[in-house]
Symmetry: C2
């Protein structure tokens, strides 16, 4: 077989292109009677091309409905214009909010967003991250639950890695973290100023770095806080209330707002009034937290800012230093002085 450029295995130029194979740059080139190189120059822009030819090419491209094949572009450029985002739970409004923010930032710079939810499973998270790393220019891991060694592996496997709410000692990994240490101290100070002494903390997933940060914050706050295993979802909060009440607290600190909403719901069922019988606080300031009954006192940090900062870390010139984001205390109706002498107990 002669090694010639006889590349034309009877390709129909126009009509039935819609169904099977899409139009390629060759189709455009043939129709415009130029080389494929010229088509590329016209469509990708920047390079000098005479206006007439450019018009002819554009017309031809329009006619056959040409759209560059992203796989081929990616192969050649070595960049897919895509980032990957891995979150523990896509259904959690907080993560949804972060995803929304980062996707908007990425889209603004012409990047796509590949997403994976991991159902809070560290193994699945690791697999998703490694798999996504093959595809994307940069990987964003939200509150990753996986072990540090695994995280390092992911760092090696990915072109660029940015963490949200987790830190890792590694030369090429950026991170944006909310200062939960500060947040928890703020919340504790607020509760202490109201006169609360018996406080229960509903723990998040044990593998969550951000949970450990909160716990450190408690120790720093110097308040005696009883810990009760809980989780990160609305259901977890709902389910953990009864256990928490056995400690006869005057205030409850939920791992996050999502949990707190579940807590409020269960307390209502039990006939326990918030904040008269019991104060409740959350963390994160989820969108719904201003609309619960009563409004949730919480520690607010802007997810918009979080997303923006994370996106900055993807820039090639970005430092790999960890960005700390401080929020602020938002006092709403769910906290008050402990009024009644006798603390409540579960109704069953």
């Amino acid at each position: 077989m002669p090694r010639t450029w006889s590349n034309d295995p009877v390709r129909k130029p126009t009509s039935d292109r819609t169904s099977a194979g899409r139009a390629t740059i060759h189709d455009v080139a043939r129709l415009a009677e130029v080389s494929t190189a010229t088509v590329s120059r016209v469509l990708s822009g920047g390079k000098p091309v005479s206006p007439q030819v450019a018009d002819r090419v554009r017309a031809a491209a329009q006619e056959v409905g040409y759209r560059p094949n992203p796989a081929a572009q990616t192969l050649l450029r070595g960049s897919s214009q895509t980032i990957g985002v891995v979150v523990p739970d896509l259904g959690n409004p907080y993560f949804a909010e972060i995803l929304k923010g980062i996707a908007a930032e990425a889209a603004g710079d012409g990047h796509h967003t590949l997403v994976a939810g991991t159902e809070e499973d560290p193994e699945q998270e690791y697999r998703s991250a490694i798999e996504l790393a093959r595809w994307v220019d940069g990987l964003l891991l939200c509150a990753p639950r996986m072990s540090a060694p695994q995280l390092k592996e992911v760092a090696e496997a990915s072109r660029r890695l940015v963490l949200i709410n987790r830190v890792l000692r590694h030369p090429s990994v950026g991170a944006v973290v909310v200062d939960y240490h500060h947040g928890v101290r703020e919340l504790c100070a607020h509760l202490a100023s109201l006169g609360h002494e018996r406080i229960v903390y509903l723990e998040g997933p044990s593998t969550a770095w951000s949970d450990q940060q909160r716990q450190r914050g408690f120790r720093a706050a110097g308040l005696p806080v009883t810990r009760v295993a809980c989780g990160s979802s609305l259901r977890d909060g709902y389910a953990a209330v009864d256990e928490a009440l056995t400690h006869e607290p005057t205030a409850l600190i939920a791992f996050n707002d999502h949990v707190a909403v579940g807590v409020l719901s269960r307390l209502r069922e039990l006939g326990i009034t918030v904040p008269d019988d019991l104060s409740v606080v959350g963390v994160d300031d989820a969108p719904m937290s201003a609309h619960t009954d009563p409004g949730l006192t919480t520690y607010a940090v802007s997810t918009v800012e979080l997303g923006r900062q994370a996106w900055q870390h993807f820039s090639p010139t970005a430092s790999t230093a960890t960005t700390h984001l401080s929020g602020e205390l938002v006092v709403r109706g769910s906290t008050a002085r402990p009024r009644r002498r006798r603390t409540v107990k579960p109704s069953r």
Copy 2:
């Protein structure tokens, strides 16, 4: 502000292959002393290869940390093992839930999920869809707001198109729709049975097909329903309450649960008790709807099922018929007989 770092013109002359450029199939082939074809056969599986060679190849791949380049695979196979999902608002828990469902289904079949939020903007939605169509094997549009002609264009541009909560007369488009017509009738019947007569409906986005379905349902229900412009977000609901109250309704039907939560919040501020002063219902049964105060009466349809059905439509053998999904009325605390004679008015 590194706003335009998107394309990276710094291309190294590929001298240093070990650190920067990832290992290719050639590296593996060389190390294992076989041809690249054999490597591919071993790693992709299916083809007959002698056990010894297979082991050698696997060892070599392991050693150099080889991972196939997805762009090259995509280019050749013509399939990216990726679907695209476009939703009007990533921050809306309902869409987040659907995204979660479909992403899980897709991941279960080895597919990735590319996502785009459109901020409820039909134009942006159209652009996102067209752009995503280039990349993905199939496109899922959630409650698309774009015009029918645009939708047809997207259908032409995409290999496979599936719609959620929208229909389109087009030969190759599948759809999964919630029977809002039925849902609204159920809600109306429920309210009517309680004795409500003055009902206000807080409209969704005017471009939403599903809003039109609801409106048709109202007409079928035969109840006089006053329409008030609102929207689809929590904030929209919060903001529309005052306007709605000028019509002195005994019951409020929100476009969806997200809106209803905003409504409840505003009513609380106004000192209007639900359901004593006013009944409120939503649509969708969002996760939080069981946990509001009072619990939200709503029309529930499983997002899990929605996701599953949508995924089925991506199967090559799937029919392009529209799948109708019926939900059921969920009665919670937010509805009751209208008790007081005098209807409430806004407090200001």
